[in-house]
Subunit: 166 residues, 2 copies
Amino acid sequence: MKNSYTFVYTNLVIETMKIEDEIKSTIPIDIAKKVLLNISFTKNVLHDNFQELIKPYDLSGEQYNVLRILRGQKGKPVNMCDIQERMIAKNSNTTRLIDKLLLKQMVTRSECPANRRKIEILITQKGLDVLAELDPVIIQHEKFFANKLTIEELEQLNNLLEKYRN
Amino acid sequence: MKNSYTFVYTNLVIETMKIEDEIKSTIPIDIAKKVLLNISFTKNVLHDNFQELIKPYDLSGEQYNVLRILRGQKGKPVNMCDIQERMIAKNSNTTRLIDKLLLKQMVTRSECPANRRKIEILITQKGLDVLAELDPVIIQHEKFFANKLTIEELEQLNNLLEKYRN
DNA sequence: ATTTTTCATTTGTATATACAAATGTGTATT
DNA sequence: AATACACATTTGTATATACAAATGAAAAAT
């Protein structure tokens, strides 16, 4: 099951090999493709692992992220557009996401007194408790992958990714 | 808009700083977190860029991937479970995805004569034409990012990602 | 030969992603 | 003060992701 990643990876590389002949540039197209797929794959592996971990806690990945943003506020309320701005997936639907967290009693929602357009979201004690329970699990997850590299290699990886992206 | 990535990135790192004090290990937790977020981000940037590119062609990302898999078969039909196995997102719904491609007349679907359980999917000429039109666009996309690194750096990045993942 | 098991696909349900339009509120313009 | 514009959120629709259950066909077991 988990091995199917490798399949796609090699499949797509092979499938597009011949295009390389057509266009010459400083960077060979197969290496350019490989890096791109490699990043997508790695992210998928991380994502699957993460989903597996939080499954028993009745939280989706995005719900978890929102709770993390709320905890980071240390009691200061946040409104919808603040949350949306800070979420990984920019265009997801914050209203419906908060609805779900409300049902689970992990957040509260109230009208902002200063500006009736805005809404104030706060994390509840129940939400904080679930996060606290999850903290060591998440750290375990992050270290599981990071431990395969040295500190120098991790910093190198960060630098290369930032250079690649920007 | 695109800058909101940076916001999340730094937000999450800051939000979890204090946890680092609690658990000591060979790899500092903030570097472990940073690498993980860095990979997710970079993938998101690539994904958004890709979506932007194929939008005018009336294809979703997964529909494009399936067409690529079909073209890679060079005329040999594929059945549903083959496609599912090779797709990036393992659990997506191949039946409904193929339905959409059928409506656009980019694939054909027929019962496998040797095994009536199976179904044979083939790419049509129209599908091939769209892919051919998209090829240079995709190459442009892949090289746009790759050109920011040297060949040596790209290979280094590939190695680090593979080591990190496996 | 009939029953059971496995395989390939489809269908259903819940949530997530993506984008556009609608609603209601505050601010600026005249 | 009335109108126009911008802001914050909600609602709607289409597609994608994730998983479980249902359907129907082939293979294996008895």
